[in-house]
């Protein structure tokens, strides 16, 4: 049974492996405290600063952010390609509507006028930025 836990952990970890270097480089070196509510972005306490790029899988329910990019896992990732087809492209606002009843998975994501159920590992391909942090 040990192998099962090991494999599940590996699946969950694949897309979370590392952040692309490009994001680290483009991250603002110094940040100012947010002044007011940024369209709901700061409604709840976060696990991360509003200025760090985060993954869609880390967004909390009820929050909105803007897509920065969709990251390929491996070369020619069909899941990333389909996500882009569905509208996950830079500058598009997304909202995490709710999460599934078991293990907070899958995620219900509103993009444009459409709602998609995405598994955590799929949502982890989508990098976000706060609404105003420079599209």
């Amino acid at each position: 049974m040990g192998a099962r836990f090991g494999r599940d952990a590996a699946i969950a970890a694949v897309p979370l492996r590392q952040r692309p270097v490009a994001n680290a480089a483009s991250r603002p070196a110094k940040v100012e405290a947010p002044q007011a509510d940024r369209s709901g972005y700061n409604r709840e306490p976060f696990l991360f600063s509003a200025y760090l790029p985060v993954r869609l899988s880390e967004l909390l329910p009820g929050n909105t952010a803007v897509v920065r990019e969709v990251e390929d896992v491996g070369s020619a990732d069909p899941i990333a390609r389909r996500l882009r087809d569905l509208g996950f492209v830079a500058g598009e606002p997304v909202r995490l509507v709710t999460r599934g009843p078991v293990g907070a998975d899958p995620l219900l994501v509103q993009i444009g006028f459409t709602r998609f159920a995405l598994r955590r590992s799929e949502a982890a391909r989508v990098w976000l930025q706060s609404d105003g942090a420079g599209a």
Binding site: R4, R7, I11, V14, V73, P78, I79, R81, R82, L83, D85, L86, G87, V89, E92, V97, T98, G100, P101, V102, G103, D105, P106, L108, Q110, I111, G112, F113, T114, R115, F116, A117, L118, R119, S121, E122
Partner: protein, 612 residues
């Protein structure tokens, strides 16, 4: 205009109301088949335009992109490009888009516009647009897109009138065919800002329903309640209809007995045709009620919600939320269920779903369950409102689901390919199912069932009648005639194999024609007992008869056997066709038989020990 039929294909995103529009345009004049060489459903219909020109309308599978991610999408792409085997390229495409979801659907319209075919955009669901206060400047959209844009409401009788009239005129090639490979998303944003104003992103009713339907506790309770309601209804509502059909077939049987002379023909009609077909047709009401529920849930947009709620559980078992819809269809029959797995993009998820689909309690097992439950489980009320027979039926369904999850889990553990596979499921707006779409869907499925009954099952009932009647008993024989027939010999030989799980030779005989379709097992039992008894009315009273003749342990063992019921050749044939592999057929048949035998063995031995 030429007199040749105009070939028009409907394309569009999933959930754009394309099939409802297709049903509105063609009514019941539809032909459902497969595309050549693949297992994607092909729906074609025909209507006559006001000018008198005949239009052949093809309903292509829904696609998010022409950059295909599933066999369905590949078919749509290939037909649009004119490279699909055995298909003529359409003269004209009608691209259907949900007017309340243009951000997503316009991107596909732009892809379709590049194809170099005349395109008309049908903006569907315009009724919802006005309800939600969305404003669409049709003239601006038409100008910017360079293709005709027509408003439609697929659920209204005259909702496609403007479209039919526009299609009757000559449709030019798109004014803008080459956008130089521009970023389609940027182009969609430009179009939206030029022609559309949306006050809210989603419909308020959707949000309100989803707060309940997707609630971690409430949503699951609602789902469980719905499933339970469906199964209770299948069992109780169908009763008066079934009695009507039973009465009608009995009258036919009496008429044939009264007018025909005694002999082989009368025996064939009464003991072969009426005893066999009659006890099968009787279950049509239950199948139709089940399909009515499935169709209504599908049309209303609830099924993807159920998939959302169950995805994590099914994923743990090696399936996906998408497997839910095919598996739910398998409750009616594994054949449409396995065929519905075509919508699962991932081949691995698809194979697992196909392999466990036969474990879902198909409607063909209902005749067996109904017969045995009626004969052996007392009609008693439990906890004031529930019927004990209903509870046993529910338990049998749950056992099927549990074993499916178990088998899928084992398959997940055994396979080598452990790469990631996607869910990416759209949750469409809720809408009321339209009676026309429900009626057409029910008609299609009911017809498939009746065709199976009329074709395979009738043939097999007659074969069984022959096996059970010949060779005839010798002069002065003491035992019942069937003892001397081929069927009796085969049954007694099989009894050696099946005795440890409590099956008598009559059951063993019934399992043979049950290979063609599970429900035949009941009519076969009827035939076996009608022929081996002296009274011809025994066929009508099979339940009370077996209640006296069989021990309870045998009945329970047979019930458990039918949870797995490997003996359905049609299912195995569909697995062969859908997976294109005999290996999968042998694996499916082998594991189903093994599970059935082991489970029945345990049930029989335990029940016999307990009942002394």
């Amino acid at each position: 205009m030429s007199t040749e039929a105009l070939r028009i294909a409907l394309v569009g995103n999933p959930n754009c109301g394309k099939t409802a529009l297709f049903n509105l345009l063609t009514g019941s004049r539809q032909k459902v088949a497969n595309y050549a060489g693949v297992t994607v459903e092909r729906k074609q219909g025909r209507y006559t335009a006001p000018s008198g020109r005949v239009v052949d309308l093809l309903d292509l599978p829904g696609a998010y992109s022409l950059d295909a991610a599933s066999p369905d999408e590949a078919i749509t792409r290939d037909v649009c490009l004119g490279i699909a085997a055995g298909e003529t390229r359409p003269d004209l495409l009608v691209c259907v888009a949900d007017a309340t979801n243009l951000r997503l659907h316009l991107r596909f319209v732009l892809e379709v516009r590049r194809l170099g075919l005349p395109v008309v955009l049908a903006l569907n669901m315009m009724d919802a647009v006005s309800r939600r206060g969305i404003r669409i400047d049709i003239a601006a959209l038409e100008r910017e897109l360079g293709i005709p844009v027509i408003e439609t409401v697929a659920v209204k009788r005259a909702g496609a009138k403007a479209l039919v009239e526009r299609l009757d005129l000559a449709v030019p090639l798109p004014a803008v065919t080459s956008d130089g490979g521009a970023d389609l998303h940027a182009e969609v944003r430009r179009l939206l800002s030029a022609a559309v104003s949306m006050p809210t992103r989603t419909a308020a009713t959707d949000d309100a329903i989803d707060r309940v339907a997707l609630h971690p506790v409430g949503g699951l309770l609602l789902l469980a309640g719905l499933m339970f309601l469906i199964f209770q209804s299948v069992f109780s509502w169908a009763e008066p209809l079934m009695e009507g059909i039973e009465g009608g077939i009995k009258l036919l049987g009496e008429w044939s007995v009264a007018t025909l002379p005694d002999g082989p023909l009368r025996s064939l009609l009464n003991d072969g045709v009426f005893a066999g077909i009659g006890s099968v047709l009787v279950f049509l009401p239950q199948i139709l009620i089940l399909f009515l529920f499935i169709l209504a849930l599908e049309e209303s947009g609830y099924l993807p919600r159920a998939a959302f709620l169950l995805d994590r559980l099914m994923f743990k078992a090696g399936l996906s939320g998408r497997s839910f819809i095919p598996l739910l269809s398998s409750f009616a029959c594994a054949i449409p269920g396995i065929m519905a797995t075509r919508s699962i993009q991932d081949p691995r998820d698809r194979l697992t779903t196909i392999m466990v689909a036969p474990l879902m309690t198909c409607s063909a097992r209902l005749p067996v369950y109904t017969l045995l439950i009626g004969a052996f489980i007392p009609q008693r009320t439990v906890a004031g409102i529930f019927n004990l027979q209903g509870i046993v039926l529910f338990a049998l369904y749950v056992a099927g689901i549990a074993s499916a999850l178990g088998v899928a889990f084992v398959m997940k553990r055994l396979r080598r390919d452990r790469s990631e596979h996607a869910l990416m499921l759209e949750l469409p707006s809720y809408r009321w199912p339209h009676p026309r779409d429900l009626a057409i869907g029910l008609w299609e499925r009911g017809w498939i069932f009746v065709k199976r009954v009329g074709g395979i099952i009738l043939a097999l009932t007659i074969v069984l009648w022959f096996l059970s009647s010949y060779p005839a008993a010798p002069e002065g024989a003491i035992g019942p005639a069937i003892d001397y027939s081929f069927a009796g010999r085969i049954g007694r030989w099989l009894e050696v194999v099946f005795a440890p799980i409590g099956f008598n030779w009559q059951i063993c005989i019934a399992l043979i024609p049950g290979l063609a379709a599970r429900e035949v097992a009941v009519s076969a039992l009827g035939t076996v007992y009608a022929l081996s008894g002296t009274d011809e009315t025994v066929a009508a009273a099979l339940g009370p008869l077996i209640a006296v003749q069989w021990p309870l342990a045998t009945a329970l063992s047979l019930l458990v056997w039918f949870i797995f019921a490997p003996q359905c050749l049609s299912t195995l044939a569909v697995i062969r066709r859908e997976t294109n592999s005999w290996r999968n057929v042998w694996i499916a048949a082998g594991y189903l038989f093994g599970l059935a035998y082991v489970a029945s063995f345990i049930t029989f031995q335990v029940a016999r020990a307990l009942s002394g």
